[in-house]
C-alpha cells in the first residue's frame, strides 16, 4: 500500500525567533526538505527615502541611524560622505580619524552581534552572552563619544558632532588587546567545535559567479574568493593610511562566511590600533560648512564598505536644502536575494544556518 503524502506550506516568521526581526519566509516543505522558499519582506518599511525628500540634509542623519541599526556609524558616514562629495567640503583630519574609529568600532560590534545570534540560531546559548558582553564595552565607548547607545546621530556634514572626550582614545587603546584575548577565546569555544563545523561546512554554498550575478557584497562576496573591499579598492575617508588585510575565503559556504567575519574583527582591531596611534592631538572637528547646507544641482553616488556589504547613497539635488531624490543601496536587501536559491533542497535546520550566515538586518532590508 502506498501512503498518500503531500507537501505542506510552513510559514516561518514574521514572528519567529530566528528571522532576526520581522522577516517572513513561506516554505513549501516535503517532510523537512524545502521544495520552494518565498521570502516576504516589508514589515519594517518606514519609507526612509521618501521621508528624506522632505528633510534638510542634517535632518536625514538621524533617520540613517535606524536603517542598519547594528552599525549606525557607517550609515551616518555614507550620507555625510555623499553630501560632502557634492558640495566639495573638506573634512578636517581629526574628524576623519574619529569617524574611522567610530565606524570600525561599529563594525566590530555588528560582527559580534552576528556571531552571537548566529550561534544562538545553531542552538548554543553562551556565545550570545559573551558577544554581548564585549559589545557592551563598544557601546559604552560610543555612548561616551556620541551620547547614544545605538542611534548615534554622531556625524555631521563636514565633520563630527563631538570631539573625543578626555581619555577616550586611551580607553579605545585598552579595548584592543582585551578584544584580541576574547576573540582567541571565541575561537576556542566555537571555531574548533566539531558539532559547529559539521553544521556549517558545505552548507549554503554558492560560487563566485553566482555571488557576482546576484550582486552580493561584503563578506557574502569575499567568502567566495573575490577580494573586493572598498576600503582597499576605492579608499574613502583615510583608509589608505592604514595597513590591514582583506580576509578572503574560497569555500563560499557558511563556514567561509563565519571565518571571514571573525577575521574581519581582527583586521578592524588593527585599524583601530593604528588610528589611535596616528590620532592627531589637536585640530578642528568641523570643516568649513555654509550655515545652510544646499547641495548644488546634480547627482552623485558614493559607496562604502559597511559590515554587511557595500552601502551606497545616491543623491539627486535640484539645489534646494532638501534632496530631490535620495536612495540608499542597502546591502542586506541585495544580499537577501540569493536566499530562495540557496534554500531549495535543504532541510529545516539548514534554513536557519543559511539565513543567519547571510547576516541581514531587517531595518536595512525594508528601509
Amino acid at each position: 500500500m502506498m501512503l498518500r503524502t503531500e507537501e505542506m506550506i510552513l510559514n516561518v516568521g514574521p514572528q519567529h525567533p530566528s528571522t532576526h526581526g520581522v522577516f517572513r519566509l513561506i516554505l513549501k516543505i516535503d517532510g523537512e526538505i524545502i521544495q520552494e522558499a518565498t521570502p516576504v519582506i516589508g514589515y519594517l518599511h518606514r519609507g526612509t527615502e521618501k521621508i528624506a525628500e522632505g528633510l534638510q540634509y542634517t535632518q536625514i542623519i538621524p533617520y540613517t541611524d535606524r536603517m542598519d541599526y547594528l552599525s549606525a556609524m557607517t550609515n551616518n558616514y555614507v550620507l555625510c560622505h555623499a553630501v560632502e562629495t557634492m558640495m566639495g567640503i573638506e573634512v578636517p583630519e581629526r574628524a576623519e580619524y574619529l569617524r574611522v574609529l567610530a565606524m570600525e568600532l561599529g563594525r566590530i560590534a555588528s560582527h559580534l552581534v552576528w556571531w552571537g545570534t548566529y550561534l544562538l540560531d545553531l542552538g548554543a546559548t553562551s556565545p550570545f552572552l559573551y558577544a554581548f558582553r564585549e559589545r557592551e564595552m563598544i557601546i559604552n565607548l560610543l555612548n561616551e563619544l556620541s551620547g547614544a547607545r545605538l542611534t548615534f546621530n554622531y556625524m555631521r556634514i563636514g565633520g563630527v558632532k563631538w570631539d573625543a572626550p578626555d581619555g577616550w582614545i586611551d580607553k579605545v587603546k585598552q579595548f584592543v588587546p582585551y578584544m584580541r584575548e576574547k576573540l582567541h577565546g571565541y575561537h576556542e569555544l566555537v571555531t574548533g567545535n566539531e558539532i559547529f563545523r559539521q553544521r556549517v561546512t558545505g552548507v549554503g554554498r554558492y560560487t563566485k559567479e553566482e555571488a557576482i550575478s546576484y550582486s552580493l557584497s561584503g563578506v557574502n562576496l569575499r567568502s567566495t574568493g573575490v577580494k573586493w573591499d572598498l576600503r582597499k579598492d576605492e579608499p574613502y575617508s583615510i583608509y589608505d593610511r592604514f595597513d590591514f588585510d582583506v580576509p578572503v575565503r574560497d569555500g563560499g559556504d557558511c563556514l567561509a562566511r563565519y571565518e571571514c567575519r571573525m577575521a574581519e574583527i581582527e583586521q578592524s582591531l588593527r585599524i583601530i590600533e593604528q588610528a589611535c596611534e596616528q590620532f592627531p592631538p589637536e585640530g578642528p572637528i568641523m570643516g568649513k560648512v555654509p550655515r545652510i547646507i544646499k547641495a548644488p544641482p546634480g547627482e552623485t553616488f558614493v559607496r562604502i564598505e559597511a559590515p554587511r556589504g557595500e552601502i551606497g547613497c545616491y543623491i539627486a539635488s535640484d539645489g534646494k536644502k532638501e534632496p530631490y531624490r535620495l536612495k540608499f543601496r542597502r546591502p542586506s536587501f541585495y544580499n537577501l536575494q540569493i536566499l530562495p536559491k540557496l534554500l531549495k533542497g535543504q532541510n529545516l535546520a539548514n534554513v536557519i544556518a543559511i539565513l543567519g550566515s547571510i547576516d541581514i538586518v531587517l531595518g536595512e532590508v525594508d528601509g
Binding site: G123, A124, Y130, N347, L348, A349, V351
Partner: protein, 333 residues
C-alpha cells in the same frame, strides 16, 4: 527495613505506608525539579558572565522556580480550536506518568528503594520509552505544523537513541551478571564500572543526553528552528507537565548513570564513614552538573547528523564494546 515492608503480607496499613512513601518520593523529586531548574539557571548564568535569578527569594533566587510554577498555574489554559481535544488533554499526562514510574526501581541507597525487581534496568528502558508516545501525541493533537515536526523529530530521536543506550548498558549487565539495579551496584564495590567500561560510559552518557532532549540534542524543541517544538501550543499547567516530565527524567537519568557507572552509594576508598546517601547525592549532582555544562557549551546537531551518529557511530561502537566485554569476561573470569 524497606526489605521487610516489601515482603510483608498486604494490608491496609501497608498500602497507606507505601502511599505515604510514594508521596514522600514525589515531594523529593519535586524539590529536586525546583532546585534543579534553579541550579541549571544559576550554573548557566555563571558560565555566561551573569548571575542568574536573584530577585525572588533572597539573593540567590531560591523561590524563583516556585514563583514560576505559581505563574503557570494562573495562566489561561488554551486549547486550539482545531486541536484533537481528548488527545491534546491526555498527551501531557502520558508524557509525565512514565517519568515518575521509572523511579520505582532506582535504588538510592542500600535500604531506600521501592521495588526490587529482577529486570530493573529493562523496566526502566521500557517504561521510559512510553513518554515518546505522549510527545508525539501532543505534537499531533496540537494541529500545528511546528508541533508536528517537533513530535516527529522526538519520535525518531528517542527511538534511535534508545538502542545505543541499551547496548552500552549491556556491557555493564554482562560484568555484573544481573539486570537488577541493586546487584549492579553491589558488583561495583571494588571497581566502578566507569573504569571497567569507559567506552560504554561514554556512549551511555551521549545517548542519555539525547534521550533527555537536552543540548546538543534538543532538536524536538529546537527554539531557533521550531520555536518550541512539540509543546508550542501548550500553555499553563499542561505545558508545565511536559517540563516536569523532562526534569524528572533528568533526575532519573542522572540517578541511573550513578547506579550503572559511578558505583551508586559506594564511597570512595577510605571515606566509608560518610553515609551512602551522601555519596549517592554527590555523584548524582556531578552528573547533573555535567549535563548543564554541556548545555552551556554546545550548539545543536542537525537532524540527519543526529541519526547518522546514532546508527553509524554509537551503535557499532556499543556492539564492539559488548563483544570485547564478553571476550574479557569469558577468558579472564
Amino acid at each position: 527495613m524497606m526489605e521487610q515492608w516489601l515482603e510483608s503480607t498486604p494490608s491496609w496499613s501497608n498500602i497507606a505506608l507505601f502511599f505515604g512513601l510514594g508521596a514522600l518520593l514525589l515531594a523529593v523529586v519535586l524539590a529536586f525539579v525546583t532546585y534543579g531548574i534553579l541550579a541549571e539557571r544559576k550554573v548557566m548564568g555563571f558560565m555566561q558572565g551573569r548571575i542568574g535569578p536573584n530577585q525572588v527569594g533572597g539573593r540567590f533566587g531560591l523561590l524563583q522556580t516556585v514563583a514560576d510554577v505559581l505563574k503557570l498555574l494562573l495562566k489561561e489554559d488554551t486549547i486550539p480550536k482545531a486541536a484533537d481535544r481528548p488527545l491534546y488533554v491526555l498527551a501531557p499526562i502520558i508524557a509525565f506518568t512514565p517519568s515518575f514510574m521509572v523511579l520505582a526501581v532506582l535504588p538510592f541507597t542500600d535500604s531506600f528503594r521501592f521495588a526490587d525487581i529482577g529486570v530493573g534496568l529493562l523496566y526502566y528502558i521500557a517504561v521510559s520509552g512510553l513518554t515518546t508516545i505522549g510527545v508525539v501525541a501532543g505534537g499531533w493533537a496540537s494541529n500545528n505544523k511546528y508541533a508536528l515536526l517537533g513530535g516527529m523529530r522526538a519520535a525518531a530521536q528517542m527511538i534511535s537513541y534508545e538502542i545505543p543506550l541499551v547496548m552500552s548498558a549491556l556491557g555493564v549487565v554482562l560484568l555484573a551478571g544481573s539486570m537488577n539495579l541493586v546487584d549492579i551496584v553491589a558488583a561495583q564495590k571494588d571497581v566502578w564500572f566507569i573504569f571497567a567500561q569507559p567506552l560504554a560510559f561514554l556512549i551511555f552518557l551521549i545517548a542519555a543526553v539525547a534521550e533527555l532532549n537536552r543540548t546538543p540534542f534538543d532538536l524536538p524543541e529546537a527554539e531557533s528552528e521550531l520555536v518550541a517544538g512539540f509543546h508550542v501550543e501548550y500553555s499553563g499547567f499542561r505545558w508545565a507537565f511536559f517540563m516536569l516530565a523532562e526534569y524528572v527524567y533528568l533526575f532519573a537519568m542522572a540517578a541511573l548513570v550513578t547506579i550503572l557507572f559511578l558505583g551508586g552509594w559506594h564511597p570512595v576508598a577510605f571515606l566509608g564513614w560518610i553515609p551512602g546517601a551522601v555519596w549517592f547525592a554527590l555523584k548524582f549532582c556531578a552528573v547533573v552538573f555535567v549535563l548543564i555544562w554541556f548545555r552551556a557549551t554546545f550548539p545543536r546537531v542537525r537532524a540527519d547528523q543526529l541519526m547518522e551518529f546514532a546508527w553509524k557511530v554509537l551503535l557499532p561502537l556499543s556492539l564492539v564494546n559488548i563483544v570485547l566485554t564478553a571476550v574479557v569476561k569469558a577468558w579472564f573470569f
